[in-house]
């Protein structure tokens, strides 16, 4: 576990053609500082696993426009029209999963499971080609676990060991991604001493976390601003 001084240092090991999980539900709980660094980094061919691919020209949306993303795996791309356009032009592959399946597959990946059977999607276009299985009279589809090379996540506070706590609905996919990638970098509002977070409130124990940085971009009522407290 390392406390990095900036995003560039934290993402030094990120390479082209890697699979990267990026936390957040829209911009809420998204690692905006780390995403910003991805937009500056010379990489391409990325597979990005994230609920959305940002908004038009914002967050991961910039990476879409930079054509750094080869494939997106998520549940809701509608909020960024550029994603649809790139898909139509054949510049971007997309894999659409029900939101619960996306979350559960990450959890399975992090927990060392190979896959699982879910009711969600059975009989719909999203289950086409997926294996069906009847268990106790109910039809399920098989979903494989998902893992990534890197997870870029957003938390509220970290302690110096790497334990993380999250803020309200900015939690969403972040704790799941923290379990499911080889390298996990968390961007946080505040870094406190070990022992300052109560053992009962820690959501992501430090064994999942490889690096932390202090957030330089913060979501406010008025949009994304720079962290002035820095």
């Amino acid at each position: 576990m390392k406390v990095y001084s900036d995003a560039a240092e934290a993402l030094q090991s990120v390479k082209s053609n890697q699979t990267i999980m990026v936390g957040g539900f829209g911009l809420v709980g998204a690692p905006l500082t780390l995403i910003d660094e991805l937009t500056r980094k010379e990489i391409d061919g990325l597979t990005v696993i994230s609920n959305n691919l940002g908004e038009k020209g914002k967050g991961l949306g910039i990476l879409v426009n930079q054509k750094k993303i080869k494939k997106g795996i998520g549940s809701y791309f509608t909020s960024n029209r550029d994603v649809g356009d790139a898909y139509q032009k054949g510049e971007l592959e997309l894999e659409l999963l029900p939101q619960g399946t996306l979350a559960e597959s990450m959890r399975a990946g992090g927990a060392g499971l190979g896959g699982y059977y879910t009711k969600t999607g059975v009989g719909t276009d999203l289950a086409k080609g997926k294996e069906e299985r009847v268990i106790d009279g109910i039809t399920y589809v098989f979903e494989p676990a998902i893992k990534a090379d890197v997870a870029l996540i957003r938390a509220w506070k970290a302690d110096t060991l790497g334990n993380l706590v999250y803020y309200k609905t900015a939690q969403n996919f972040n704790p799941l991604m923290a379990t499911a990638a080889d390298v996990v970098i968390a961007e946080v509002d505040e870094i406190v001493e070990a022992g300052e977070l109560s053992p009962e409130e820690i959501v992501t124990p430090h064994l999942f976390v490889d690096g932390i940085i202090r957030a330089e971009k913060i979501l406010t009522k008025d949009g994304v601003v720079s962290n002035e407290q820095k």
Partner: protein, 219 residues
């Protein structure tokens, strides 16, 4: 009625279905309005992005990191709790959410709905729709009876891709309330001032007239 009045009429009627202690998930659009008409401490709102205990929020208390599934700012009710997305959808799929109120693009006469994709356009977003359909104990659809171009949204058969093989339990529009019983659509209630003839005229689906509650001017 203007659009706003229509939406509120539908939402208000849906709110009447929430009686006794229940956990309710509200979709985007008209469903979100349902909360306005609930004044019962026993109705708890769940949002799949990770909160049980959604409440209203005033303009000055808006917190950009506290939103519902439609990414709109919300408040935190007394006794609320937060959780990650896997746990949240575990609640949904595991049948721990009593009622889901959802919008649709289309519904059919067996209660199947389509609300996530339009053929010919890119299939770009499903969100939590499929999970809610398979998991919620009761599913209520709130929708305008017709689309903008005046076509019935309640069809013999959905032409858009269905969201689930599970039928919804109830459909509430500005014209009528339908229940799905044994795979068939029953019109159980007319909205004030609406005639059965009007409902028949504006509904492509076959349905059984079963109006026992006179909401309007005729049975």
């Amino acid at each position: 009625m203007n659009k706003n009045d229509i939406q509120e009429l539908i939402a208000k009627r849906a709110a009447q279905e929430l009686k006794g202690r229940c956990v309710v998930n509200l979709g985007i659009g008209i469903p979100t309005l349902v909360a306005k008409f609930i004044n019962d401490d026993n109705v708890f709102f769940h949002t799949e992005n990770g909160l049980l205990g959604v409440s209203d929020v005033s303009e000055e208390d808006i917190d950009p990191n506290l939103v519902n599934a439609g990414k709109l700012p919300v408040g935190e009710a007394v006794g609320a709790s937060y959780f990650n997305s896997a746990d949240s959808f575990g609640m949904i799929r595991g049948a721990h959410v009593d009622v889901a109120i959802l919008g649709v693009l289309q519904a059919d006469q067996t209660g199947l709905i389509a609300n996530w994709a339009v053929p010919g356009k890119n299939i770009m977003g499903v969100g939590g729709a499929m999970d809610l359909l398979v998991g919620a104990k009761k599913v209520i659809v709130t929708t305008t009876h017709t689309s903008k171009d005046g076509k019935s949204k309640i069809l013999k058969e959905c032409t858009y891709p269905i969201t689930s093989t599970r039928s919804v339990d109830m459909i509430i529009t500005e014209l009528a309330v339908f229940e799905v019983m044994e795979g068939q659509l029953h019109c159980i209630e007319l909205m004030p001032g609406v005639s059965m003839d009007e409902v028949r005229e504006k509904t492509e689906a076959d349905f059984i007239s079963d109006v026992t509650v006179a909401g309007g001017n005729m049975l």
